[in-house]
Symmetry: D2
Subunit: 310 residues, 4 copies
């Protein structure tokens, strides 16, 4: 297996990058390039494209291919690129994985298939098959509220013994579950355990976690990098200064609308306001209304002001 | 819009056909042809390929295309062919719909996108867009336990006013919901309301429903046709003779294993035993164990014996 | 066991009676008496007090005792009185059952305990113990959305063999489940299987069910009795005339508010408008707002007008 | 309001005490006394009786009264006693609260009513009413998997402004939710935010939480006190020594059976093995089987051995 673009252990902030889209549904290529530069200048460790925040499930293969190409080209091997291959059909996952490999990405990420309910034996066999077949290191992704299927800690532990499975991102929000994942590191210290919900980033790192895959890092990459480093350095004072801002982003940027797209529009409208990329989202999601967009911008300005004073 | 292969109103038994697969994951073409002949000889009204029972979410596009071609060719325009286009990405749904149209299918079927949570406004706009763009009449498909998203009765009623939306299949199992769907027919009598769970077939038709999309019709097409006709004719005695068999199929063929694949394997193992097609299923589902397969066959023999005596 | 006040088989409309309350939370005794007369004049088969609609979980024992006394006294042994004894603590259930027996009630009704999750073995042993200890025939009550615990059909079948368990009310809304309950009658024909959701009353009786325990019968007892009888007589034309009114009551009386109390306030506000009893509800539920109350009354008037023309 | 037995701020380990029961269902009084001495000698901050672990929902009032009396008497005012008053009927909650006050308890604890679904407005009004009426400081208790109703962070924040509401125990396991609760302390620093699941104790205290209400402290009170203190002192090395034991207790003591009662039997069988109290549990829960009990004891011995070496 070729691991030339993959480090021994993933650690730090990995951005689950949004997919910039034009109003006609095609990729906003210029916006994508600007966004990648914004992220790499912000000091993030890696970029995870085609995840939930990347709206992967809503996009056609051709667009995914374009996005992979641009991202790998822009990062120039200086930053780890992880490519989401989550799909209900394993053949489709393998197809995307091959494109990722051909373009120089460093790893692939797969949440469980999300149509049928699966038991742990189904899930285990599925992941072993996937890990055997993908041409890049595989990162697990637990997100039961979306996929209905949970990768139980015992299953994750068994999977961690596969040489091609390098870590897990947990977006369940379940603190007990996350502690059980951390216990895998006793047996396999270089198995990366990363947190999805940014509200839990600091506490997860203080508990021994390896970093975060946090949506807000699209907007404020360096803020999340600083919080990660503060937690790594056990600088509790700095953690306590940044954590309220993280919660404010969660509440006032992501929570501006009761619509399902509220989080996604919060990130994309912020990036649009910052002049980075277009704000459009793909169906079946529909954008929040004009009033919510206005509130997002107002709240964003307040947060930018506060960040400057840290 | 071309409706030459689509009748004014769907009514009767539509089989949600399994997808016969070889052990290498490719389509079992000979088995597929035999299965289609088995179904049409059984007197079913139509064949619905690439639904949940058809494992659509687990299959690659090339295989779906082959299946559409064979099914349309074998039915020779004598039976309605409905093609499932359910997918999280609308572009992929449209691609399958075009293949269906090009091969002479009569309608397409779409459950809600199943990754993101959607509100009713999202769902409504999604379906209107889909109905505008697909080149065949569109049948709705409600299956919230799989898709997480319910097409609420009010939304279904609004969608029923779109000229290209011709009916709905409900697999929720919710009897209150189904009664509310039936109320749509007051406004639009030719809107077909069909039941998924076969245990509810008789009662749904007695209540005014238009028929069933029932998995067991893969094995025993004429039994389900007879039950449908008995209910249409209000022949309660005959209904009461057949209904216990339907429940026995449900309990003793589909319920032989605690695995998620229990229903699907119940159908496929039965067809294999009957010499119709191969029994393999696609990942991520895993087959039931050998003991369960044996029990399926034993129970099947008993049911076949009982059917003969009706 | 004394079954003098209990018939061999329950059949027809049993009203899950609301508990009329004064604004100070005490029982509205005069209203209760008027309500009971309203129901018995409407021709219902029995009265079920202290169920979900009766807000049993929100009431103290002293008030429950008063209600049992008044109901048993007012019905004067002419109508079956069923008393809800559902509670998380079996000792409390038994205490209420004894009060019911002492006042001449005919049966008790128990949904599963609703704090802990229970497996089917727990549930079975619980119900056997309860059936052994209560001094009146026991009616099962399945309502998983409230209690979290489902009485699976296999468990209900095993319980139906206990001489003191006489039937089951199903409020799950699940049509497949209900068909499986009906199958119990093959083995034990006098086991009563009744439907909770009134939208399913007609179809359940057409399928072989024994009647309904329907909240709307508080307002319009004779309407539900007529629908039951029409379905029993297979008078499909009359069923088709009444069923739209049932759906209209469901939509326009129960659905006037997004609040949890919408159904309960729909019933109680209607009874208040009809001069039968006070409309107050017990905490933790809070009433719908004034606008919703107004809408209830307006919609009620329309429904009363339509009922007259059947 | 009398707060003589309640400190300004709750902080540390509060044991959610099991209720020792005899085989006839009555209180094991001698066992209760031994258990209380075991806990107070272990250095816990307080004792919370009649919670979920205390099987409050399964017990009759007379037994609850006995338990309150013994606990208040045994602790002799040296340890805070919190009494669970969670019930679906507010009158019943108030009755228990009065008994608690009369016996000298320091606070009462209430989870949301758990039969009806409640919106946040219902919940807010319910808790304000309860806080106004109870004669002791009120501690909130969030446990949505049991009660179905979540106290949303915004609601908890509003409730924290009531002078008689002193804190919240969160058993949701949701790490994002817990971080949002901690944010309440910015406005009201003496509002206690405590964690239920012991797997999260260390990380919650490292994040600024005030302590834990952890079931395992019934067995090993001093171990949980040491973990709490290590986290308070930011002694990460000691935390890292104890945390694996906490996870081992969770996995090997609580997880010995698939039955719902597995956690509760894990605690009670351990206490029985240690000679502290009888192991019986109240219906509707049923005990784990003999093999599971044996495994609990074997695993307990291993853990005791490991604890000695810390």
């Amino acid at each position: 297996m070729d691991k030339e673009n993959t480090p021994d252990k993933l650690e730090g902030i990995i951005v689950p990058m949004v997919t910039p889209l034009l109003s006609n549904g095609e990729l906003d290529k210029k916006g994508t390039e600007r966004l990648i530069r914004h992220l790499t200048h912000g000091g993030v460790y890696g970029i995870f494209i085609l995840g939930t925040t990347g709206e992967a499930s809503s996009l056609k293969t051709a667009l995914k291919k374009e996005l992979i190409e641009i991202t790998c080209k822009e990062t120039q091997g200086q930053h780890l690129v992880l490519v989401g291959i989550t799909h209900t059909a394993i053949d489709v996952s393998l197809k995307i994985a091959k494109i990722a490999k051909d373009n120089g990405a460093g790893a692939v990420v797969a949440a469980p298939p999300y149509y049928f309910y699966l038991d742990q034996d189904d899930l285990f066999k599925y992941y072993i098959k996937l890990a055997d077949l993908v041409p890049l290191p595989l990162f697990l992704y637990n997100f039961p509220i979306m996929t209905k299927n949970t990768i139980e800690p015992e299953t994750a532990q068994k999977l961690s013994r596969h040489p091609n499975i390098i870590g897990i991102k947990d977006s369940s929000g379940n603190g007990v579950y996350f502690q059980k994942l951390l216990a895998i590191k006793t047996e396999k210290p270089d198995f990366s355990v990363m947190i999805g919900p940014e509200e839990m980033l600091a506490q997860s790192v203080l508990s021994g976690g390896d970093g975060g895959v946090n949506g807000g890092a699209n907007i404020f990459p360096s803020l999340y990098v600083r919080l990660f480093e503060a937690a790594m350095n056990r600088d509790i004072d700095l953690v306590n200064k940044i954590q309220p801002l993280i919660l404010e982003i969660s509440k006032n940027i992501y929570g501006c609308s009761p619509k399902t797209s509220s989080y996604l529009c919060g990130v994309k409208e912020s990036l649009y306001y910052l002049g980075i990329c277009e704000p459009h989202i793909a169906p079946p999601l529909q954008s929040v209304d004009a009033k919510a967009k206005e509130t997002i911008v107002q709240n964003l300005e307040k947060i930018i002001f506060k960040i400057k004073s840290i």
